[in-house]
Amino acid sequence: MDKTARGYRQIPVYLKYLINAVLLAAFLVLGNALLSSGAVNRAQSAVILQIGIYILLAVSLNVATGYLGQLPLGHAGFMAVGAYTAALIWKSLPGKNIGIIVLGLLAGGLLAAVTGMIIGIPALRLKGDYLAIVTLGFGEIIRVLIINLPGITGGTPGLMSIPKHSTFMVVYITVILSCMLIHTMMKSRHGRAILAIRENEIAAESSGVNTTFYKVLAFSVSAFFAGVAGGLYAGYTGILTPGNFNFMTSINILVMVVLGGLGSMAGSIIAAGILTALPLALQSFNKYRMVIYALLLIAVMIFKPSGLLGRYDFSLSRILEKAINGRLFTKPRKAGEDRA
């Protein structure tokens, strides 16, 4: 065990990585076993895949809203770019191997990122409500473009018989990898610059942060992973219609991020899980389903306006470190309290 100057025992970095890797692999094996053994029925496994896809959508939107502090409303547009790109690639490259799947997802993400950059460069000159309106407009433009390019996208009826590549394994690994990449980016100097813009743009700029660059970067990263999620979505449904990517989809994703807590990845994940599973779980109360959904949102916003988790982020190693130091249930000290 490493020790800091204050005698707080720390887990060495490689061990942290190892613990996380082992747990993630265990979940993968467990999930795969559950699904293939038939313990989970078809409807339930569909929900699990949907949850995975929405987790990635929420986590990616969180980069632009929670971390960068902007309010884009065109997330479904980026998702659509990724979905159609991946679908077209998969349709034209028959066969199911890992190379083709990765190619489709990556191409979808990259094209979405490029779209994000093209939209972000002019749109990010605006702030707050104005940015929301402009991105909303761009999101709709993407949808209308898809409708009006029937030669490529199938137009309004949509794109059919897309190979269903989104198995549990594919969704799980993609979502976990994406979350990890976003996490590692945020724990770096680029991530700190993005957070600094959220905290105080003028101070960030005068501390030497190129705010335009980092805004576009965060926006593109957000769009990239939305595109990847779109690809997963295409491989999950097998059918894409422009109606899947309307304004309501963007709002749904935003609700997940806000409900989970702006700036908290764990919050986005939990909220995406709850809000995707809830409507399906409430199917038996079909009449009151939307009422319960709405009441839940209102309750959270009244009692916890910062979202379920606020800005808290889950860290297993932090909890373990607290446990081995016997401080699991003690609150962290506030600054200034310990000044002798």
């Binding site: 700029e205 190129n210 600054a335």
Partner: protein
């Protein structure tokens, strides 16, 4: 390192201003000529001309609303001057963005504290270290060796800088939770992190008690000696200004009404009038 005199002999330069004798051989770090800015019909800063030596501690004082912070905002290109020019280290700052100016060597603190309140103290300082790292975002995402190197370098450097102001043991607290005085100090540390040649401090002692102010004076001198930088400060606390500034400019209604050493400023009837009104000047 040799201690520089606190209030050194000032020598004239180009007939435009005075700089410390020790800086006389070198071009001034900041050369402002005939700076004007208009807000609508109001001329907020009028014909502002000032030179600051390489290692000078300069003061900018004046009654409330005189335009002092506006001058800082002009220097950091928050506002664009209507007329005049600013040479920072010999380079014209016109048309540069704020972060480019930071790279050229100017860093500042704010009158109303602008920390990254939701980030830790250490991260606040690390944000200030925005130059001299070339790793791309992929290096960071995949934690390639470059990421480890950068993190280690920034961590060590951040703790070194925090140590100057005794903030090391608060490195992990959120900046917003710090007591007021520490927040002011942290802003200075963050500004230093970008390795400026000129540090602008906007009312660094505001809200500090006399002993804290005294400590701050020592710290400002220490910074100048240690990093060999020029410091320009706006301050209302006259003990601080007269105690550490070598050259002082007095601003009133956007115009410089007096420039000189602390002694000259204290005896200048125009300054006394501006501060205390006409009666007292007699």
């Amino acid at each position: 390192m040799p201690k520089k005199p606190v209030n050194s002999n000032m020598v004239p330069l180009d007939g435009l201003g005075i700089i410390p004798e020790r800086d006389a051989g070198k071009p001034p770090i900041l050369d402002i000529r005939h700076l004007c800015v208009d807000f609508g019909g109001l001329r907020a800063v009028d014909d502002f001309t000032l030179l600051i030596g390489r290692t000078e501690i300069a003061g900018l004082i004046g009654p409330n609303g005189a335009g002092k912070t506006t001058v800082f905002n002009l220097l950091t290109n928050v506002y664009k001057p209507t007329q005049g020019r600013i040479l920072l280290n010999g380079q014209d700052t016109r048309g540069k963005s704020m972060h480019e100016l930071n790279r050229l060597g100017i860093a500042r603190t704010f009158q109303n504290i602008r920390l990254f309140a939701g980030m830790t103290v250490e991260d606040n300082v690390k944000v200030g270290m925005s130059h001299g790292y070339s790793d791309g975002v992929f290096t960071d995402m995949f934690r390639l060796p470059g990421w480890w190197r950068t993190e280690r370098r920034q961590h060590v450097r951040a703790l070194e800088l925090l140590d100057l102001f005794d903030l090391t043991d608060k490195a992990d607290s959120l900046a917003g939770n710090l007591p007021y005085g520490d927040q002011r100090r942290l802003e200075i540390v963050r500004a230093l992190a970008s390795e400026p040649k000129l540090l602008l401090l906007d009312e660094p002692a505001a809200g500090m008690n006399p002993s804290e102010t005294h400590e701050l004076m020592d710290n400002i001198r220490m910074l100048r000696d240690r990093f060999d930088i020029a410091i320009m400060l706006i301050e209302h606390d006259m003990n601080l200004v007269m105690g550490i500034c070598e050259g002082i400019a007095v601003l009133n209604y956007g115009k410089i009404i007096a420039k000189g050493t602390p002694k000259e400023i204290q005896q200048n009837p125009v300054v006394i009038e501006a501060y205390l009104g006409e009666e007292a000047a007699v």
